[in-house]
Amino acid sequence: MKRIYFDHSATTPVDNRVLDAMLPYFAEQFGNPSSVLIEEGGIPHKAVDEAREKIARLVGAEKDEIIFTASATEANNLAIKGLALANRDKGKRILFSDIEHFSIMNQADFMRILGFEIDFVRVDNYGVLDMEDLKKKVTDGTVLVSVMHANLEIGTIEPVKEIASFLKERGVIFHSDGAGTSGRIPVSVNDLGIDTMTISPHQFYGPKGIAALYLRKDVRLASIIQGGFQEMGYRAGTENIPGIVGFGEAARLAMEEMDERVQKLTMLGRRLWDGLASSIDYLHFTGHPKQRLPGHVSFWIEFVEGESLLLWLNLNSIASASGSACASNMMAVDETGLKASHVLTAVGVPPEICHGSITFSLGKDNTMDEVEHLLSVIPGIVKRLRDMSPLYASFKQQQKEHDK
């Protein structure tokens, strides 16, 4: 059976139009853009320039506000480390939201070695940042705050504009990880009022191995990778030309097809949400019901373990993701890392029952038939797993006794 890919939060396939744009830059226009004085360097140099322009346009920025990196992870590292180091005269205190991605969260130790202090801002049960908690925690000496634009595990879109406006008043620098939003929903860095934002093309049909950090003009940033004079000195290393060109083309297509894609995803997502709600009991949606990414449906099911559900969906040709500890730490070297997702814990799902979390993230090429197929197979899988579960058995037993 043809695979049904509902895991666009993990990554997306490269659009064929994007790949076509990249192809000339491997074997033909292979030159080093730093070699501007020879013909071989000229065309790649221009290609990088044009791609930068397209990406800037996607998020409403200027061309020279875009810094290429190898991944969203690197962009997040450049933002946190680079902003903190370059502005450390302003303070040593950094705040992360409780639901940041690992590529923000796991910098905490390194930042502490550099002499910074990290504190965390709470979210509510929908995963929305708690503004009161933020206001309390932005004390004097706070130099930097990082709140992602949208969380890819639970789909919630954060009130970034409101946060930015508060932080601007307080003179605090604001980084937002836009890996889940830019290229997926309309993003305007000026409207949002952020200082830096991560942009990740493999989340919108662009290639892996390339990403960018938007850096507002006249915000100071230190580099974390030093060397040659590429990327205005913010990030050294010979450019990944095909990657950059593909990124640019993916950005152009995302902008051109944005409305169409969002509309379709909204519709498919709504059907999926409603279908699940009506066919599976003891199912709990995660994230905000309205302020969420289109085509993103996430939930956990009582008495169903996430990895098993994911494996059964996979056997039924459906690709999904699970925040289940077992699933997401599968490749850990040992079991010490087996913790329930910090995101689910942060939104108040009790750790002992959140192992059934599943995320369906739809993409531009999914169809209603695929959604209907998913809805037709999932109840059977859930039943099967519950029938195996000793927890469900005793719950049913209790229920029976209660009903008497």
């Binding site: 008495f303 373990e305 990895e307 098993s308 494996l311 056997l315 289940s324 500890a325 077992c326 699933a327 730490n329 599968m330 490749m331 850990a332 070297v333 040992d334 079991e335 890392g337 087996l338 913790k339 329930a340 750790p351 002992e352 029952i353 192992h355 029938d387 195996m388 579960s389 000793p390 927890l391 469900y392 058995a393």
Partner: protein
């Protein structure tokens, strides 16, 4: 498909052996690993110190289900003494190996078996 699980694990995950409950079990063991969320329950029917029937119910990941299933196969028909000698390594080996992060699942299966045999001894007095 290349994946972290052996074919054996996937086979037991998809077609678990001896899944279910034994109403009048002679020994029942239930263990759980709260860190990972797995819960295993093993039911034994014992006659003349021999395990004549065994069933399990498991809430857990692929490795947990496969480990439970494999354990029931390995002990069915065995004497209590033989069953007590079953190690988690033996379970993992019989499954064609488990990913490092999943080895605790076979430990859990061993623990469930020990708990069920304990329960049997206690009940027998």
């Amino acid at each position: 498909m290349p994946g972290p699980y052996s074919d054996k694990v996937m086979d037991h995950f998809m077609n678990p052996r001896n899944m279910g409950e034994i109403e009048d079990a002679d020994g029942v063991g239930e263990v759980g690993n709260p860190a990972c969320g797995d819960v295993m329950k093993l039911f034994l029917k014992i006659e003349n110190d021999r395990i004549v029937d065994v069933k399990f119910k498991t809430f857990g990941c692929g490795a947990a289900i496969a480990s439970s299933s494999m354990t029931t196969e390995l002990i069915k028909g065995k004497t209590i003494d033989e069953a007590l000698k079953l190690s988690n390594q033996a379970v993992a080996e019989a499954l064609g190996g488990l990913p490092p992060a999943k080895e605790h699942c076979s430990v859990l299966a061993e623990d469930a078996l020990k708990a069920a045999l304990e329960d049997y001894k206690k009940k027998k007095g």
